[in-house]
Subunit: 344 residues, 3 copies
């Protein structure tokens, strides 16, 4: 595919500064760009690379409007503009609507039109696959589960029985949706299993990374609303509810029955304890454990600041007697106050 | 299925207060319960929902015996009672003892009676599958490995060679048992692989969540005793030994050769360093890293307390000079002592 | 297999002290060793076990040369010597170069000589499998991806399209290489997907554990250099670059575009934020979050020191006002200085 800068701006908007006839064939990073590619500035720390880039054009924000000699497109949101540009040059590959003979599809399953079924897929009784969906190699759709239209299951995705995925949901390889939640009750020195009879309900336009796990509800469903984006290796416990358009980075764990608001951003490897409420528009930093409900939007953090091991040793040892230190400071303050009285 | 409250109490014990003829058809949450369902109070924070519930009956503890107008069952352990009630209404589905033609079973494997083998299963030479077991879609059982009676492997579980699972073990989708432990030795600026020749030995009544990994031993076996319950995405290193009835929440990592006691409870995303001993009945809080052996029962914690990012910034910066602060307080204390001497 | 101690030293070097005719049949742990096995001392904390061992011989370092009555091999690097000894007694099993009839191999894929293809494997168009490679049950190799010579994919490994693995790479079960990176741009209250058009490039002699995920690059490739060793359940974000011979323990997450040096050692469940540079020979302790680039070799740590819950409660509460405490100490210091002036 090749498009002139003029054609790109015609299709996507933004303001072009420079020669509209320059031909672009692909997107590129600033560092490796060639004259037939377009790059973008995502992050101020790459300004030096912008100066040295070999790109035919770049996408920048308003503040760089007058700082560049090469053709550039000024966009209100350069990263989103870049995303759309890349989608122009990299349309999703068409997949033929075939059904591989090694797939095992129960006669009581219902498949929409133009569905691609890869080798070794298994689809159980009562499952429904929406039109235009692609079910990747070895993926499994349990009894009565539903994949909405234009869904994509990458290889080896496992959807247990009784789960519902909305339209245009993408699930990456190895992800497991609908396994039993961790419901156990201690009784006479033995754990009894609590049957997990809820399902998982996932909205439209959700994307889920690789090797993530979303447990089915204990009684009611686990719920992921529209537009949620989950990275790899995330663990969502039973009966969690995630509000629309929340984005969660890799390795996060959310314990059972917690409710996350809309438009939250949850940093990598952070955790949310069970039975909490997190308001809309909350940002959680990486490696933070949230142990109480959060009622106000804002950024919350709880990572230990790393340092050289020898410094950490000293500070961490002091941390173990910090409660005592606080008491000692209070005692000093009292002592000085008393003396003040004595001398005044 | 439908049972009267009287029949439930007949089968499960507990004390019924209210009309024994009320008909129950399913368990429910307090919030969504209807008159033909029975709910329970798991957690004091749901007391408000108890007052407003539409349930036909509820399961409660002794302390709520006289606080309710609707029929209720008083149980010493309401959550365990609920687990048994739910199991009554939700018995495990029967699965026909069939063997799908796409499964590849080595003639030297031994299958017990009434075994269900799903499509695309592979069972290698010398493996044994106990009677009544269900081997899910695409599951793999390596050479010489044993699945005890009434075992359940969910889809895509991988059991490497030379592993042993006891009776009534449940393994959820995507879990890998018996992969090589992380045994590498640095030699002349190259890592050499240490052959991992031990196996994995898992007791009876163990349940393992989805996408968990349990490595085979370097020389001797990795051992999981009876009744252990593991959640999703847990990592168990080589030669770890987990005592009976210990429960481990999701995303925990246990490094090689550590030995965990019986009846421990290990919170989500916590970690245990290698070569440690953890006593029986130890509780580890979520996100805690255990770096020393624990010889006494009790609860141990090491999570950074989260707060608003601006507060965290200030406190975390101070933490970086906490060792110095401790010294400054000591100096102040000395100074005041000296003056005291001087003035007295 | 059986070898005398003399034969072992002939093959592997080291200095034998004791009877060279002793016959060894296998390696063993000190604890469970029998007279026909050889053990080693990996860790000073096992010295007591060394004294009580039933082994026929042990591998030790220089410092134990004169401390043992039983035959022993003195090696400069006992653990590496043990690794080589174990490899002698446990050579990799030969696998017949067969291709199972249930495998689905695109006619446009290219397979080298002596390749083993297990049941239910799928290899897409343009993929290449190097000579001597073993592709395990249900593994998937996407279009145009390359597995170098002597590669091993364990069961259910998923390699997306356009990825390249070097020679002698081992990938354990359930690992996913080349899934889309987490590239999303917020635009008008909706997340737009940024196409992930880079690949993954993995060098020679790399080993990757089970259920690990390595994302494809957003534009350029994600790169793992020669000799890197990755444990289980690691998450490598898009465009990460890992230098040669770096070893990473389980459950680590590395965010997008970070660059890790050579010969680094990264402890379990630690994390590295995005867009950072980590120098060569850096060691990161377990559970540490690295939030800034590291320019000097050394050990860096950031784990909260765990303690009994009641102590943690007190200290963690004080941590929340540590910034204030620092100010109070400064005030006390000022106060005393003033008084000193006043009295002098």
């Amino acid at each position: 595919m090749s498009l002139s800068l003029g054609e790109i701006v015609n299709q996507l908007g933004g303001e072009l500064i420079g020669d509209s006839r320059v031909i672009i064939r692909q997107v590129a990073t600033l560092e490796k760009a060639t004259p037939d590619t377009i790059a973008f500035l995502a992050n101020e720390r790459y300004l030096k690379q912008l100066q040295a880039t070999g790109a035919g054009a770049v996408i920048v924000g308003e503040q760089l409007r007058n700082s560049l000699d090469i053709p550039h497109i000024v966009a209100a949101n350069p990263y989103a503009y870049f995303a759309r540009t890349s989608a122009l040059f990299n349309p999703q590959a068409e997949v033929a609507a075939t059904r591989h003979e090694s797939a095992v599809i129960h006669p009581g399953a219902i498949l929409g039109e133009s569905v691609y079924i890869a080798p070794h897929v298994v689809i159980e009784e009562g499952a429904r696959i929406g039109s235009g969906s692609r079910i990747g190699v070895g993926a499994y759709v349990g009894a009565g589960s539903t994949i909405g239209d234009n869904g994509t299951l990458h290889p080896h995705v496992v959807i247990y029985h009784g789960c519902r995925l909305g339209r245009s949901v993408i699930v990456h390889a190895g992800t497991v949706i609908g396994a039993d939640g961790f419901g156990i009750a201690m009784d006479q020195e033995r754990w009894i299993k609590v049957p997990q009879i809820g399902g998982v309900s996932i909205g439209d336009d959700v994307e889920i990374g690789a090797n993530t796990t979303i447990d089915r509800g204990a009684i009611d469903d686990t719920i992921i609303e529209d537009g949620v984006k989950l990275d790899n290796q995330i663990q969502i416990g039973h009966n969690v509810h995630i509000g629309a358009h929340t984005a969660i980075a890799a390795c996060v764990g959310i314990a059972g029955s917690s409710r996350i608001g809309r438009f939250c951003r949850i940093g990598g490897a952070s955790g949310i304890a069970g039975h909490l409420n997190i308001a809309d528009n909350v940002e959680i930093s990486a490696h933070t454990l949230v142990t109480k409900s959060i009622t106000e939007a804002g950024t919350y953090t709880g990572a230990y600041p790393f340092e050289r091991n020898r410094d950490w040793r000293r500070n961490a040892a002091s941390l173990r007697s910090l409660g005592g230190l606080t008491g000692r400071v209070r005692a000093l303050e009292q002592e000085l106050k008393l003396r003040k009285k004595g001398t005044s």
